[in-house]
Amino acid sequence: MVNMTIDLGRGLVLRNPVMTASGTFGYGEEYTDFVDLSQLGGIIVKGTTLHPREGNPYPRMAETASGMLNCVGLQNKGVQYFIDTIYPRIKDFDTNVLLNLSGSTLEDYVKGAEMVDALDKIPAIELNVSCPNVKQGGMAFGVTCAGISQVVSEVRKVYHKHLMVKLSPNVTNIAEIALAAEAAGADSVSLINTLMGMAIDAERRKPKLSVITGGLSGACVKPVALRMVWQVAKAVKIPVVGLGGISNATDAVEFMLAGASAIEIGTANFIDPSVSEKVAFGITDYCERYGFQKVTELIGALEC
C-alpha cells in the first residue's frame, strides 16, 4: 500500500495529490455521474467574486491545436449566493472542497475571504490573482510583486485557514512573484493559470472571442507549466500545486518530479469527464511500479 496522503499545511490534508481545477469542474455536482469524488484529493469550485458577475458575451471559447482559449470572464452569482445556495449542497462531499476566490478590488477580496472563512467545510481558498479575462482586478494583482504582496497580506489578516495563491504565467519572472506571495503569508501557490492568447477567423477577418483575447489551456500549455513549476519549486519553501495541461497520470507524475506537492486537472475534464479519478489511480500505480512507499517521495525527485 502506497501512502498517497499529501499535507499542504495549515489543516489542508489531501487523500491523494489530485484536485480538479477551478472553472473546469463546476461545483463537483456536474461530474458525479463520472467520478467518485471520494477518490480525489480535492475539488476547487468555480471562481467566485464578492458580487455577482454575468461574465463576457458569447462567443467565449475557441479551440486551438491541442488546447482551447476561453474568455468566460468569471461568470458567477457571488459569494453570498454560494454560501446560501451552493455550499449546503456540496459541503458534505467526501473530499476537500476549496473555493477559488477572485475580485476586482482589494476590498472585494478581503470581504469575500472573511465570508468564506466562516464556512466550516471549506478548508482552503485558492486566491485567484491571475484571471486574464476581467478588465479590473484579476490578473492585475498577480503580475507584480507589489500587487500580489498587497492582496495576499490583506487577505491573510482575515483568513485563518489554508491560503493557496494561484499564479499567472503572464509574467517575466514567476519565481519572484511566488516569493512575494510566500512572504505575504501564502500557505501554498498553485500554477499556472491560463496563458493569454488570441484566435482569429481569417474568413471573416474577425476575432473568434467576444473580447478578442482569452486564456489558453489544455495539453499545449504543459511544457510551459512544467518549466514554471520547476522554477517556482526551487525558489519557495511552501508547497507548490502544479497544473497546466495535465491529461493523464504520467503528466501528473512529471509535475511532482518537477517539485509539485499536488496537482490539478483542468481542461482534460472536458475531454474525459472521468479523467481525474483515473489520474489518482495512475499515480498510485506509478509509485507501486517503482517501489515508492509514499507519494511524497516523488516531490522534486527529478534527477538532473
Binding site: G23, T24, F25, G26, E30, Y31, D33, F34, K46, E54, G55, P57, Y58, P59, R60, M61, A62, E63, T64, A65, S66, G67, M68, N70, V72, Q75, G218, A219, T267, N269, F270, I271, D272, P273, S274
Partner: protein, 254 residues
Amino acid sequence: MTKQITDFSLSGKQAYGRSVLLRLRSEQPLPDIAPGQFVQVRVDGSPSTYLRRPISIHDVDFQQNEITLLVQQVGEGTRHLAAVNVGDLINIVFPLGNGFTLPEKGENVLLVGGGIGIAPLYYFAKVLNEKGIRLALLLGGKSKSDLIRLTDYQQLGEAFVTTEDGSLGEKGFVTMHSVWQKQSFDKIYVCGPKPMMKAVAKMAVEKDVWCEVSLENLMACGLGACLCCVEDTVDGHVCVCKEGPVFNTRRLKW
C-alpha cells in the same frame, strides 16, 4: 437521467452529400433518451481536434441499443468523424441537456428544421407518432440535396418543403412557406441556423404561439462546467449544454 461515457461501435454508415448518417451500437442497454438531447463525441486521430463534438441525437433504437447521428462535415473534427469505418469504436458522453417539451394530444404541432438542424426532429417526430400525437413538418434547405431522408420524414407527418434555390418545394426560406397562411399551430419546435430560428421565433411571438428552439452554441465540456456556451436569457447568461439546448423563445433575449 444518469450521464455516461460509452464506447459505441459503428454498425452502419450512409453518406448523404456532405453529411453522413452514423449508426452506433452499444454493448450496454441504453439509458432513457429524450428527443432533443445530444451527445459529445470524441474525435480520435485528428491532431487539430482537441475537444469533443456536440451532436444531436437523430434516432434511437432501444431494441438494438443503437443511436443514430446525422453529421454534417463542416470542419476538421466532423470530417474525421465522418471517416470512421464500420466496427470502429467511438467514445461518447451522453445523454446531455434537456429535450423538447412534449405537446398534449390534440394540439396542432409543427416541427421546423433548417439544413442539418432537421437531425433531432426525426427522433422527436418518431416519439410523437408513438404517442399518437399528429404533427406537421416544415423542412428547409439551400437546395434539395440538404433535405436528407425526406421520404423517411414524410412517413412521420405531413411535410412541407422550402429550398432557397427552388429545386424542391416552395422557393425561399421556411418563414415564407404558404403553410403559415393556411394553418395555425399550438406548438412550434425549431432547429436550424440561428438566423432562421430567430425569424421563426419572431413569427411565433407575432402570432402569440408557444415556440421552442434548439440551440447549438460552441461548447467545450457539455456538462455545464466551463460556462463557454452561454446564451443571453431573461435569467442572464445560461449554459446551452445544461439548461438547453432546447429553450422556450420567451426565455431568450432575441
